[in-house]
């Protein structure tokens, strides 16, 4: 092959007015937040600059038996450094989890044409279940940087509360719960009864990511109260950038692509909780 993989391709693409192709980045940190839950950080100035909440990156294993991309939501950005948090659920995530600081990994992103909309001043309630936290950490960080809105994180975990500390610096309020004690709806009810839904005169907007049943329950909860509710969806993907139509979900507008028509959809689009 005449072409080596180098980060140079990012600069070359950008100089020519294009989006960066797949390229290698250097891992700057990798650690286990909870059993089987890994945080990985890598240096990528382009993604760091451009990533918006609920956008994701495609990571590639170094085993060509597993060629398909593994998509992960961007969680935090610190300078040039981009963090993701993922659960080891199969061979691909096991391969990625075995990487060391200083190793390189191939990445494509940031992807997802429709991220969370966080421009309006509001009371954002960030509702996540399990490995749904990364996009909401990213949302919290952006909202915190903008400094105009109120942010309440409502996180549900299976057991270890691995993301509370991470989101805390960016949120006004962090509520969390594990499976044994209830779920995020328990927390939402509690939030409503304790603080009401209008905080400092700001309307409540729900940003949600997590397992399907949890998202449906939250959408139903929001629908009953007529709250705006944006949900970040998952689907098995091919390309991640809109070329293969492999990642569709059924919406009231037909079969839409999670990668390029999403990953964020409104509950109206999903027809949930009507």
């Amino acid at each position: 092959m005449t072409f080596t993989r180098t980060y140079d391709v990012v600069d070359e693409a950008v100089a020519a007015g294009y989006f960066p192709p797949r390229h290698p980045v250097v891992i700057t940190a990798i650690d286990e937040l909870a059993p089987g839950v890994v945080r990985m950080a890598f240096r990528d100035p382009y993604i760091a600059e451009h990533a918006r909440p609920a956008q994701f990156v495609n990571l590639f294993t170094d085993d060509e038996m597993m060629l398909m991309p593994r998509p992960f939501g961007v969680s935090e950005v610190n300078g040039d450094e981009v963090s993701i948090i993922f659960a080891v659920v199969g061979k691909g995530t096991a391969n990625l989890a075995a990487k060391q600081v200083g190793d390189s990994v191939d990445v494509l992103g940031p992807l997802g044409m429709h991220p969370f909309k966080v421009k309006d001043k509001a009371h954002y309630v960030l509702v996540a279940g399990g490995l749904g936290v990364p996009p909401l950490i990213c949302a919290a960080q952006k909202l915190y940087d903008a400094g105009e809105s109120k942010v309440t994180a409502v996180f549900g975990y299976r057991d270890v509360k691995f993301a509370d500390d991470i989101v805390a610096p960016y949120a006004d309020n962090v509520l969390s719960i594990d499976n044994e004690h209830g779920n995020v709806v328990t927390l939402l009810d509690q939030l409503e009864s304790e603080n009401g839904l209008i905080v400092d005169g700001l309307d409540t907007v729900l940003l949600v990511c997590g397992p399907l049943p949890m998202m449906k329950a939250v959408a139903a909860w929001a629908a009953k109260r007529d709250l705006a509710c944006q949900l970040s969806m998952e689907q098995r993907m091919g390309c991640g950038y809109g070329t293969c139509v492999l990642c569709t979900i059924d919406t009231v507008d037909g079969r839409l692509k999670v990668c390029s028509d999403g990953p964020v959809f409104s509950r109206e689009q999903l027809g949930w909780g009507e």
């Binding site: 092959m1 005449t2 080596t4 070359e12 294009y18 797949r22 098995r236 091919g238 139509v245 569709t248």
Partner: protein
């Protein structure tokens, strides 16, 4: 130790490049022998990554008479060195294609192959009727998708059904018509002959192999459609054999080789097997710029093979 036998020189894909080696497929000149494979190229998505008019040709996603919603999700998983897909030809229909993708691609100067999908002969006829005088440079008739049913299996597996279809389509347009064949047949030379005898100007092969994966936690199929089409590096030897065998029985017909191409070297192997050009499919899922990279690698490899390059430029092939 790193033996420096491979030139690992980095090439900037975004700098202007004068293509050195063109090819000709059914009278249509491609600026290089590398196109995209249908279903892995959407202009709206790929245009962000590179100037797609640089490719030898772009073959667009299959279009049907009306919008199709395709198969339910999940639609994809992977195999060893492969992708499995069961899109089921979701597409916004030929009318949308004629006012959106096609004019945009022609505006930037791309050589365009319009891929035609159908569930029955009438579908194909309706689409070809609408494309008969359009701006596309070539039509590719996809009679080989394993993920849609057409009386139980795709028309491309039945030489007689294929000949009847071609007899209807051929009179409808003067455009060069490529018939895209499936490897899921006993003998690919039979539909190949039938297509050519009934008016195909060129053949392309292969479409995906029928395949399946199950989840060993649940014991159930991963793809909602249960089976899907296998593509990517794993299918390379199957695609090469298909091209070689068809070339052996049909020495004159232009052939576009498809299946498992992700480097210039693999594209070259197809050309030696007897192809006039190639299309790159699944590789674009692993890297958006793969088709352009393959084209550039091949352009350099052909420098050392003047005899092959000359034949291609003249519309001939190695075999």
């Amino acid at each position: 130790m790193t033996a420096n036998t491979n030139s690992n020189e980095h090439v900037n894909l975004y700098e202007p490049h004068e293509w050195k080696h063109s090819t000709k497929v059914a009278g249509v000149t491609w600026k290089n022998p590398v196109g995209t494979a249908s279903g892995t190229f959407q202009y709206a998505a790929v245009r962000w990554f590179y100037d797609v008019s640089q490719l030898g040709a772009v073959c667009t996603k299959g279009v049907s008479p009306v919008p199709w919603e395709g198969n339910p999700s999940p639609r994809t998983t992977e195999g060893p060195a492969s992708n499995l897909n069961a899109v089921g030809l979701q597409n916004p229909g030929v009318d949308h294609y004629l006012v959106d993708d096609l004019p945009k691609l022609k505006k930037i100067g791309a050589t365009v192959i319009a891929n035609v999908a159908g569930h029955c002969d009438e579908d194909y006829c309706e689409v070809v009727a609408k494309l008969a005088d359009c701006d596309a440079d070539m039509l590719e008739i996809n009679v080989s998708c394993p993920n849609v049913t057409h009386g139980g299996m795709s028309v491309g597996t039945d030489p007689v059904a294929l000949s009847k279809l071609m007899d209807k389509l051929r009179p409808m347009t003067d455009k060069p018509m490529i018939v895209k064949l499936t490897p899921n047949v006993t003998d690919i030379t039979a539909p190949a002959r039938s297509a050519v005898e009934h008016g195909a100007d060129a053949l392309s092969m292969i479409n995906t192999l029928l395949g399946m994966r199950l989840n060993i936690k649940t014991g159930e199929p991963i793809i909602a459609n249960r089976t899907g089409g296998v593509s990517g590096p794993a299918v390379l030897p199957v695609g090469i054999a298909a091209v070689y065998r068809v070339r052996t029985v049909l020495p004159e017909v232009p052939i576009i080789g498809i299946g498992g191409i992700d480097t210039g070297e693999k594209a070259l192997e197809y050309l030696y097997a007897g192809a006039n050009a190639v299309e790159v499919g699944a590789a674009a899922l692993f890297d958006p710029v793969a088709p352009l990279r393959v084209a550039r690698e091949l352009d350099d490899l052909l420098d050392d093979r003047p005899e092959l390059a000359a034949k291609l430029a003249a519309g001939q092939t190695w075999r």
